[in-house]
Amino acid sequence: MTTARVRAHRRLQAFRVVVLTVLGLFFLVPLGSMAAYSVRVPAGGRTLDFWRQLGQDPDLRGAIVTSLELSLLTVVLMLVLLVPTMVWVRLRVPGMSRIVEFLCLLPLTIPAIVLVVGLKGVYAWVTYFLGDSSLTLTFAYVVLVLPYAYRSIDAGLASIDVVTLSEAARGLGAGWFTVITRIIVPNIGAALLSAAFISVALVLGEFTLASLLSYTNLQVVINLLGKSDSQTSVAASLASLVFAFVLLILLSLVGRRRGARRTAPALDLMAPPVAKEG
């Protein structure tokens, strides 16, 4: 019995080592290849010229700025649209919560390539009213990030007692605007931060809508560059990737600290900590 146990345990360990090594290689080799590819010189040796190119190529620089502006605008519009709505639903119209949830998660099931077909008509009007700046992509990007942002904000709101907090504030004479900006938002800071991070990561990587609606963003330029200067384009890919990785890893750290945040003394005074996590 015990020898069988030992043998089973050893077999399990061997299985784990094999799986982790093989899949680890599968995931690391392409990343390592990108790094090697972006510094390679055909005659042999290495160079950082292609990385320097990232700051010098005017198209690329413009696209990096555009994508950063797009992520900022998307985060702002997403927060302005989503936070008051979700607080309002919890406080005044809880009956609508299923509909709001359904609408927020709907973009998960509609492929971007399908959405873009329908958005073409809408964007004809957007261009008519607002001009054809690439920054108008913000409107579509808010829809794209909605499911992810909704989930993290929902988890944040579930971890505080929105009703008690806002009733206390209202009883002390605060208006709705004050309730949202000074009471709710400071209490779900971590959730808002993670919603913002995931939105930025998604917007920086977005290609489908931008390219098919004929706008320019980072990924569109990287893709174009791939045809003329593949090493610079790989360097740019790796750079944008590392940036997104850092954001998403920060995101997971924020998520982990949320548990600690919930028992912050300021909260304990006002409401009992709620155990429910979304």
């Binding site: 492929p111 399908v114 077909v117 829809v143 977005e206």
Partner: protein, 284 residues
């Protein structure tokens, strides 16, 4: 009357949100469905009929094949990885780093992923050249990376991490008592997996596989960056229909193709929801 109005006031707070989503989510979606039945500004079934065209059917089939292959490979390898993680310590470094890496890699797709594989296995990719110089093997072949086989491989890169994320909770739900109970009744490892763990995990496994299928089926950017010639899969055929005026004699074909995609995704996601309901009965 006035009471009805007063009851309506709170709902008015949702107007900005609902208005926004109407313009940028609902109208586009509805216009895809409606647009599929319009040709030259008139109601017409010609676009729907064009879906039966041999080119479209073949492309649809290839899309399904690619999604199924990458979903099955991703599901099997992802499940193995998840099991390797779950059998470690629950709060260990390994588990934490694998799960956060998977969270990041599952989001990794599109142009950058395509370029990662071009830098690896493209004509002058790092691994291709190493293969040529060191082993004398031509890994590039006739450019398989830029065809369906290549897409399958590249998709696997985001399918495995996604599988780990969605399947890990089910593996966590397995109780060690089940194993002990089976062992004390004299079950071998094989019997335990065949009669206890397998049947319990099967719905979750199949459900996750369906999710992976939908994920691959909907993917566009990776394929667009990798495949520059022809339209082997449905999303690329939509690109073609969007960027050229007329495809297969239809100006609204993109709408019909998009509707085609919606139908497939809805069918797959419905099956997923049904399986999920079955799973949650056992594993919580």
């Amino acid at each position: 009357m006035s009471r009805g109005v007063r009851r309506l006031v709170p709902v008015l707070g949702l107007v900005p949100f609902l208005g926004y989503l109407t313009i940028f989510l609902l109208i586009p979606t509805v216009s895809v469905v409606v647009g599929a039945f319009v040709e030259k500004d008139r109601a017409s079934l010609s676009n729907i009929r064009a879906l039966g065209d041999e080119v479209v059917l073949r492309t649809l089939w290839r899309s399904i094949e690619l999604s199924a292959e990458s979903a099955i490979i991703g599901a099997v390898l992802g499940a193995l990885l998840a099991y390797a993680v779950v059998t470690g310590r629950p709060d260990g470094t390994l588990r934490r780093s694998v799960t956060s890496a998977c969270g990041v890699l599952a989001q990794f797709g599109g142009v950058t992923l395509a370029f990662a594989f071009i830098a690896t296995l493209g004509f002058s990719g790092v691994v291709t050249e190493a293969g040529r110089d060191v082993l004398g093997v031509d890994l590039f072949g006739s450019g398989w990376l830029f065809g369906l086989k290549g897409l399958t491989l590249v998709y696997t890169y985001f399918q495995i991490p996604l599988m780990v994320i969605v399947f890990l909770p089910s593996l966590d739900g397995m109780r060690s008592q089940w194993r002990e109970a089976a062992e004390s009744l004299g079950a071998s490892t094989w019997q335990f997996w065949r009669y206890v763990a397998g049947p319990l995990l099967l719905p979750a496994f199949l459900g996750s596989t369906l999710l992976l299928f939908a994920n691959a089926f909907a993917a566009y950017a990776t394929a667009a960056a990798l495949v520059s010639q022809g339209s082997p899969i449905l999303p690329l055929l939509i690109r073609n229909a969007l960027t050229s005026e007329i495809v297969l004699g239809q100006s609204h074909l993109a709408f019909a193709l998009a509707l085609d995609m919606i139908v497939v995704v809805v069918v797959v996601m419905t099956m997923y929801a049904l399986l999920l309901r079955r799973t949650s009965r056992w594993l919580r």
